[in-house]
């Protein structure tokens, strides 16, 4: 695979790892914000290549994991509406809600359709006008433009049987809340490469400026990640934090202008509830009133107002997502919680820290 294999060169990986040993400062904890990084780090065994004094911890960048229980319960409740077909990315299927999950609903005969993209959900709605299709809009800025375009497509096709249950979240606002929290003890942030293709590397400039925290935007191949870590260690050593862009081949400093236009046309900023982080002002989006007909929260407001509050759950994903607990230290890890019997989203999602620790060792 071009642009992947070159960045998996074993010899270069070894040499870069040696360079990291030479650069290692005193103890340093680096947070990989993005779940895709968490998975790549585990899969390629990168933790073993890092200097012993450098610790990598996972952060809140797995959209499946940070989806609040209340939002998941709301989407699940729509499965009980006659004629509704729930459409979702496959990652959400097994996440336990308070009372059920998408796969359990499906087993009882509720139509739940996994789609590769929101465009597929719109296409299903177009082909089957007698049914009502609701898409679970989960994801950060990487995914938001696809949802926005799907809504525009449905609108221009005049569809009345398609809507989005929007739980999209925005990364820079969440990072501000995260780095501003006194409990966070990290010395650098490895920032999400694919979110950054949309928001631009410059959108994180406030982090070194206001919080004096080193940052590196990194890609997802082993060499990309090590290069990101190298940039962080170098900044820690020199004491001059900045936002290093080590994923230049895909990320520019400014935001993608087309994406910004499309997002602004369809969405407006809204407060959002994050699992673990709680409510963060301005860290989510809702559909603008001109697209209200495609907003599942409005279309099904009566049903949603009847959803009981979430049931408390012993899962500690919330702490894992804030970098306060490593999966292996959760008392339920491997005991009552495993990928076949997940108690929380961090064990379900292929990018969840608990799933990664289970599969590849923590």
């Amino acid at each position: 695979m071009k642009f992947s294999e070159e960045f998996r060169d074993k010899e270069l990986i070894q040499e870069l790892a040696r360079r990291l040993q030479a650069l290692a400062p005193g103890p340093a904890t680096l947070m990989e914000v993005c779940g895709t990084h968490t998975m790549a780090v585990a899969r390629f065994g990168l933790k073993m290549l890092l200097p012993p004094s450098v610790r990598l911890i996972s952060g809140p960048g797995c959209p499946v994991c940070v989806t609040a229980q209340k939002d998941l319960d709301g989407f699940l409740a729509l499965g009980e509406v006659p004629n509704v077909v729930l459409t979702t990315f496959g990652d959400m299927i097994r996440v336990p809600g308070s009372r059920t999950s998408l796969d359990r609903l499906r087993a009882t005969g509720v139509p739940v359709q996994i789609v590769y993209s929101p465009f597929d959900a719109v296409e299903l709605a177009r082909q089957t006008p007698e049914r009502e299709f609701v898409f679970f809009g989960v994801g950060f800025e990487t995914t938001m433009p696809a949802t926005a375009l799907a809504i525009q497509t449905a609108a221009s096709a005049g569809l009345t049987n398609f809507s989005v249950f929007c739980v999209h979240k925005t990364m820079p606002a969440a990072l501000r809340a995260l780095v501003g929290s006194p409990e966070l003890r990290v010395s650098g942030l490895l920032l999400p490469g694919h979110v950054s293709t949309i928001v631009g590397a410059a959108s994180y400039d406030f982090i070194p400026r206001e919080f004096h925290l080193p940052c590196a935007v990194a890609g997802f191949e082993p060499l990309d990640i090590l290069l990101g870590v190298e940039a962080l260690l170098r900044q820690i050593k020199s004491g001059s934090p900045q936002v290093a862009n080590t994923y230049r081949r895909a990320v520019a400093a400014p935001a993608n202008p087309r994406a910004q236009e499309i997002l602004a046309e369809v969405f407006e900023a809204a407060d959002a509830e994050w699992r673990g982080l709680g409510a963060i002002p301005g860290s989510g989006v809702r559909l603008r009133s001109r697209y209200a007909a495609f907003d599942a929260r409005q279309k099904f407001a009566a049903v949603l107002s009847q959803v009981p509050p979430p049931v408390a759950n012993p899962c500690r994903c919330g702490d894992v997502l804030r970098g306060l607990l490593s999966p292996a230290d959760c008392p339920l890890f491997r005991k009552t919680c495993s990928p076949s019997q997940p108690l929380g989203p961090c064990m379900v999602s292929s990018e969840g820290a608990c799933a990664a620790a289970y599969r590849y060792g923590g």
């Binding site: 071009k2 959209p63 597929d120 989960v138 949309i198 081949r249």
Partner: protein, 73 residues
Amino acid sequence: MCLAIPMKIIAIDGTIATTEVDGVTRQARLDLLPEANLGDYVLVHAGLAISRIDEADAAETLDLLRKLADEIQ
């Protein structure tokens, strides 16, 4: 979930591209990348091309990696 895969554009029809990697093809919308051309590599995520991969920047990063590796020899 933010996984995006580098794929080559092998056909363009309006704003929809056919992209290919390792013999697998996928449709990807090009709304975010009006400048994308046939033969370009783009990152594809959930049916949308989210970024064009710059070959020169990729080569530069690989050069930098080799240079860093040499420095410690």
